[in-house]
Symmetry: C2
DNA sequence: GTCTATACTTGGATAGAC
DNA sequence: GTCTATCCAAGTATAGAC
């Protein structure tokens, strides 16, 4: 029925080109970013990957599984990258700067996008919530570590429960991502980060770091 | 085809019972809450409303329009309610208490749920983002007003740009809603609010309020 | 205004040829 | 492993009877 028989490459099976599986994962990532969770069907992802729709089910069993694999892939990459950035930051001011840099880099790379879409889709897909939740756990740990690093040596460290701060930070990042994506406007987030920077500098004056030389308390 | 002809009430048109339109809006709200954006089809909503699927299109033209009407309905209700609560709060501590109370009440009533689902669905539905974004605008204004009220009379008022705080507050609420809904766990949010309360009390000691008699604006 | 019936589309998933 | 073909379910939307 379909016009074929001519020498088109369409319809020709490509034998095991390195890894269709990996290509599908990459395609799932970009499809989640551009079309959202609702637009990430097996057909849409396969189109992006340049392969057949049936391969989604052959390699992953279901669309949801492929999407989770996509989330795993970006998560691992970003976790490594952010770990380095955070390790290089000491104190509140530098950590806020790192946070802003991570935000920008992440917005471009789109990891938060992937995460946000998976969270968004979890409300409508039975069982997905638990899977996504489990994959979110390391990020709370990461944020808690960053919080400890940011407050180390400051009297604030004893006043604020790092677990709560970590939760708030993750929630805030998530909320910012949703809002920024909603109207494509980054400026509000940028403004917020620059204000945060200014306030953290101010905080550094009120609560000087104890660890270094004698910045003794003004009492 | 379907067995009919007997005296079942099924299949009998209910003439203009007060307002099917309003019933559909209510059904859309509960469907968004229980099934999420992806599960809120015309059929699902009509089932909840106990009426026919075709009525969605007769009354609203499209599913998206009905969902937007649902968002409008909850938004208006909650805006009135929160306005009263915020008007009764003066100073940082009381405002944080109000924020926590609003959070709990809202989680039960499910307005944030509806908003979150609409934001979630906006990534996949062309044109929806702009509509939702416009409906979010009043909430930024509301948060900004609450921020002004919370900081009135404190030296912090001159240090903190209220617009940035408002943006952060909305983003944080949104993020918390998504996270709480993901695994059905409220405890992290509760912990965060109680920590916020403790810190705001502490802040009240560091930056004491200048003048305050509960009446007209303290200058 | 409300219902039934239906046309049309898209998507998940499987069977089987290559 | 990859593709074609196909089945089936669910959704949007419209036409027309009541």
């Amino acid at each position: 029925m379909a016009k074929q028989g001519v020498t088109t490459r369409v319809g020709q099976p490509r034998p095991n080109t390195a890894g269709t599986r990996a290509e599908l994962v990459e395609a799932a990532i970009t499809t989640l970013q551009t079309e959202g969770f609702g637009g990430s069907s097996a057909r849409a992802i396969a189109r992006t990957a340049g392969c057949n729709q049936a391969l989604v089910f052959y390699h992953f069993g279901s669309v949801a599984n492929l999407l989770l694999a996509a989330l795993d892939a970006t998560s691992e990459r970003r976790m490594v990258r952010y770990g380095e950035a955070v390790d290089a930051a000491d104190g509140l001011g530098p950590m806020v700067e790192v946070a802003a840099r991570i935000y920008r880099e992440d917005l471009d790379a789109g990891h938060m996008s992937v995460l946000a879409e998976m969270i968004a889709g979890s409300s409508s897909t039975p069982g997905l919530g638990a899977e996504v939740s489990a994959r979110l756990e390391p990020w709370f740990g990461f944020a808690e570590d960053a919080t400890l690093r940011a407050l180390r040596g400051s009297p604030l460290a004893d006043l604020v429960p790092t677990r709560d701060v970590a939760f708030a930070v993750v929630a805030l990042y998530l909320g910012i991502e949703f809002l920024a994506h909603l109207d494509g406007d980054r400026s509000q987030a940028e403004s917020l980060f620059s204000t945060a920077k200014r306030l953290s500098d101010l905080m550094g004056l009120v609560f000087p770091v104890a660890a270094h030389d004698g910045g003794d308390d003004p009492r």
